[in-house]
């Protein structure tokens, strides 16, 4: 007799035990009934110590080496949640080991390396290799997409999207991000991806960006900013513009508007923590989600469930790995515009015409 579906579980390992890695473990344990977590790894001693204690009763083996972890017997999939500089290499190694991979965005800080990952994945079509653009799993972004598909706003031609994080007084996260490609690669990449999500297949024509440092002077020598605004003009009369910030006082404020010829769709224009509103002598107020996780926890659960389901059922992954390449190219161009003050153009094939990546 076949085992009960309640007992069929994909065995997953989570690489990286930073803030997000820990959360992915929790999601997999609590909200993905078809998964079991059998291993995790980190290279950070404090994370390792924390994990050995935390997971000791949960049947989760804690490794201090990614390469050893992926040897774990019975392992079927890896969730790569490490720092961006090893995303690509870890994904490649896992694929070569025959594992399914969910790799957090961005694939790489290097365009060539990112392309290589895609190439190798494409050579292993039996494996599920998926890019972790979590917003595409959010119910609201999907509903917005569905409404656009149903012609609620006509033909979309403007996307405004912002990713604004609560200020991190320690500055830790900001410095970390600067090393991951800077504002437009690490943070704006989600907004760029959303413009592609809503516009479909579009090719950039020109970009420009400016930024400022409102709270973190140490970013200056890291060639980054903590607030940036950028425009992407696409061939075909479509425009996306973005605002990214690490320094909001009120919480995680991520919103997107899509303007079409017959209307406009707005996602989360005024963020709120929950359904509670309070009236007091100072006015009427509500709380805001403090961070990305609070806004997108359900999306991460959906992402994890869909990834596990496509392994179980051998169906295509919901997000192709290639998706990340175009976003990455645009993100790099915006970051270059930010640093040089120049606008960066592309030809109709999407080849960069200006700046140091021109003709690469």
């Amino acid at each position: 007799m076949a085992p009960s579906k309640q007992d069929v579980k994909i065995s997953i390992a989570v690489a990286g035990l930073g803030r997000m890695g820990k959360r992915h473990v929790r999601t997999l344990l609590n909200r993905v009934s078809a998964a079991q977590v059998i291993a995790v790894c980190s290279t950070e001693p404090t994370e390792l110590e924390w994990a050995r204690n935390e997971y000791k009763d949960w049947g989760i083996k804690v490794y201090d080496s990614y390469d050893q972890m992926i040897q774990h017997s019975g392992l079927e999939a890896v969730w790569v949640s490490t720092s961006t500089d090893v995303h690509a290499s870890q994904t490649i190694v896992a694929i070569e080991k025959g594992l399914n991979v969910l790799c957090e965005k961005p694939l790489s800080t290097d365009m060539e390396e990112a392309k290589r990952v895609v190439e190798i994945a494409n050579k292993n079509p039996h494996l599920k290799v998926m890019a972790g653009f979590s917003r595409r799993f959010d119910a609201s972004y999907r509903n917005a997409k569905a409404q656009i598909a149903n012609d609620a706003i006509g033909e979309p031609f403007i996307v405004r999207s912002q990713t604004c994080d609560l200020i991190d007084d320690t500055g830790f996260f900001v410095r970390y991000a600067a090393k991951n490609g800077g504002m437009f690669v690490d943070c704006c990449i989600h907004d760029i991806d959303l413009s592609l999500f809503y516009f479909g297949d579009v090719i950039p024509k020109a970009v420009w960006a400016v930024g400022t440092i409102a709270h973190h002077p140490e970013l200056k020598e890291l060639n980054d900013v903590d607030n940036g605004v950028g425009i992407v003009e696409y061939w075909g009369g479509k425009i996306a513009y973005f605002y990214c910030s690490r320094t909001q006082a009120h919480g995680h404020d991520v919103c997107t508007e899509v303007v079409g010829t017959e209307g406009k769709v707005m996602v989360n224009l005024v963020p709120r923590l929950d359904n509670v509103t309070v009236a007091q002598s100072i006015g009427i107020s509500h709380k805001v989600q403090p961070e990305y996780w609070d806004r997108f926890e359900d999306a991460f659960a959906t992402e994890a469930n869909e990834f596990v389901a496509c392994i179980l059922n051998n169906t295509p992954v919901p997000l192709k790995l290639e998706l990340g390449l175009m976003s990455l190219k645009i993100g790099w161009a915006l970051q270059e515009a930010l640093l040089t003050g120049e606008r960066i153009r592309f030809n109709e094939k999407g080849e960069q015409l200006d700046g140091k990546r021109a003709n690469l």
Copy 2:
């Protein structure tokens, strides 16, 4: 060696496979990692047929008898999600069989029977027996409670609460509800419970209610209405007032306001399906959750997880069974006021002074 916590599961059976019963099974399967569903039961042939097909690969035994189901080997807990007339008897049988029980509200359509359930549960303190007032598990209602506890609005003295359902054109649900005690017992009971949640221990002083039939003339002979408004005055200068409806055009519209001496807390004053808003030539609009489940799915998952956790850890249940008794008494009084047109008074001990339940 102890088994991995990933493998420790409370074995639960779900009684009743109506709309809600099926959902509880799904919640337990997908969102309660420490539970496994081992049995279900129904007396409806179509539900049984559906269940035998749906659950056949899931290791879930389908019974056509509640009494047989609770004999299932290894069973530890029952979720009673049947019609109200058998809530009490099924809960009692399960307790006597040594099972933990989560019983949907209301405990009974009969006050004496409801008291008996509480009595028996109290004699079995080793068992977890819990009332299913799902709103108390909703994050927003809890946040509102926390803010009130933190003195955000001073001393609360007015509660306005409404439970308005999307119109059910078939009329099925409405007739069903009429048999479950009518508008103020079946539907308003949640709002009554919320007034107790926010006011604390209060004793009713007088109630009055009126109603109207907007869509379902067949309710007349069932002594019920499809829209009702009621007031409960509590001893000590506190007032709750309620609006319940089965006939909303726009969706499930459940909101609560608590007015205090220094402010007001509002929960879900304008319902919305998700974070999407659309601007079109007709104006700016958003969708509304179609029903209770869409609004409270997370609350049901929290309820299920907390119930399972208190069995696993042998901790007190979050909601005492007694809670339901006072709500039930007030619900019956409102229903009587609705039918007789008279206001119903209570003395300071909460004993009813008017109407057919007076001096009972």
Copy 3:
């Protein structure tokens, strides 16, 4: 040659220089181009002193006697904004003097007297005598009415309406109101009027009300409350329910919902001062209008302009004086229910069956 329409002005006197009287003068001076204010009166020495100074350059004669003021040469209309106890007598005297009258609500604290005013006005159809139900001049309430007339919500059958004022710490206003008939006559009268506005010609069937004193213990001996909740059941299956408060912490919070068979119209569910919203570390907030005037200033200007225009053009007044009678009857019944704890019934002609006004 006829004079320029810029120079044609109706000459008006304002009776009463309390908070509202002063505002009406300002409205007439600044926002009613076809009016000039030629006289005002008060019996309060401090108001008289204030007015003599304030209006000395404005061509406005200040009287300490209403009777003398209405003798003022060339006077065409009076705006009666005195305390309720003299509304009726002053209106009658003005009519008898051949003046047009805008009389603030309520017409009287005595039903018989109110009827007499209506009678006398009806005998002088050449004069414009209008009831001051200011909300009927508010653009939003009118738009709501228009949408209902356009069948946006089907047949309306429930009205929820609240009038909640910012707390007045001095207690002055509250004591004043108690003398004007109490919570349901002075304050709820607007909400009652709105239920008639949206339902059309309806007859009360039964009412009940309760109240509490949250801030002003001195109201006890004045037989009033500072927070009250009431229900009016109308013949024909229509229900209105009200909440009135003098003690809100956050400002003037006046909202109305009309539920129909196909939808719901909401007016001002979440009050806001203006279009400004602020996001700060404590959350996202906006200010609330502090009082009635801030919410309804435009409505008062519309009211004044329409009243003046109907004098100029000899057209019917927008609000018949009779309108106030039914509201008054219901207001008194609610107030009696509040004080006695009894529900008050009416027969199908609207004759009161219970309480001290029964069979009057």
Copy 4:
């Protein structure tokens, strides 16, 4: 004896009887008690005919020549509401004639001419000459400014502002605007002005803009677009970014956000016509103001009243004429960036370094 202040009136003429001119006449007649309109002018035969009929009983002389109109005996002030190409010359002639002038924005389509107007006005300090940036008179923008001044959001460093008009299917307005300098001079000028309003004295460092034609192909040969997005980087780490559109489906959607180091102020993020919201089977919706006038009618009345008051009381005008110069410079640079695809830089004195206006 001095005349009553009710009879003291500034005599004003309105130049231009297009959509806005007519509205200004109405505002002056109905909402500015200290003004009388004694003359108007237009060169459009249909407007003249309309005016001669409309104003015949109002003591308003209708001229077909601006130069003749300003000879009108007793005239004290002119409201210049003609097309942009004559704003400057008409303002200059009026000043030379000794008249006070309220001139609609922008002062000119030519920078040098605009400067000349300012110069001449400065030589006539006894006359009130004011720029018509109507948003600065809007209660919400002023409240936002006041809150920022009160340190509600710390130091402002980002302004996002949009001016989105309801689509004009006739295309008339769009072609008209193209002749008035194009998208960023005619329409975005208000948003640019708001960035100066909230940032204070700032100097542009670089700008870029892109645009698209969504509905009006005829704009191509007029070198304009019907949707444009632009960024202005100011010296000192401040950034403004703008979206202007002529093609919104839902109405007039004008909003502004100011981000500071400690918070964010939002003005009108979700536009609404009034306080009415409707719930129907399709969802919950509200209407949007169809156009600028509906959103800013009160601001225009405030502007008119303040202009008249500063003539009456000989006080400084609330908005200095110079204000328009910097906005105009930035608007032209954005328009040039739009047309050339190049970013335009400025030095720290605000002198343009790139493009055809460089070193002018």
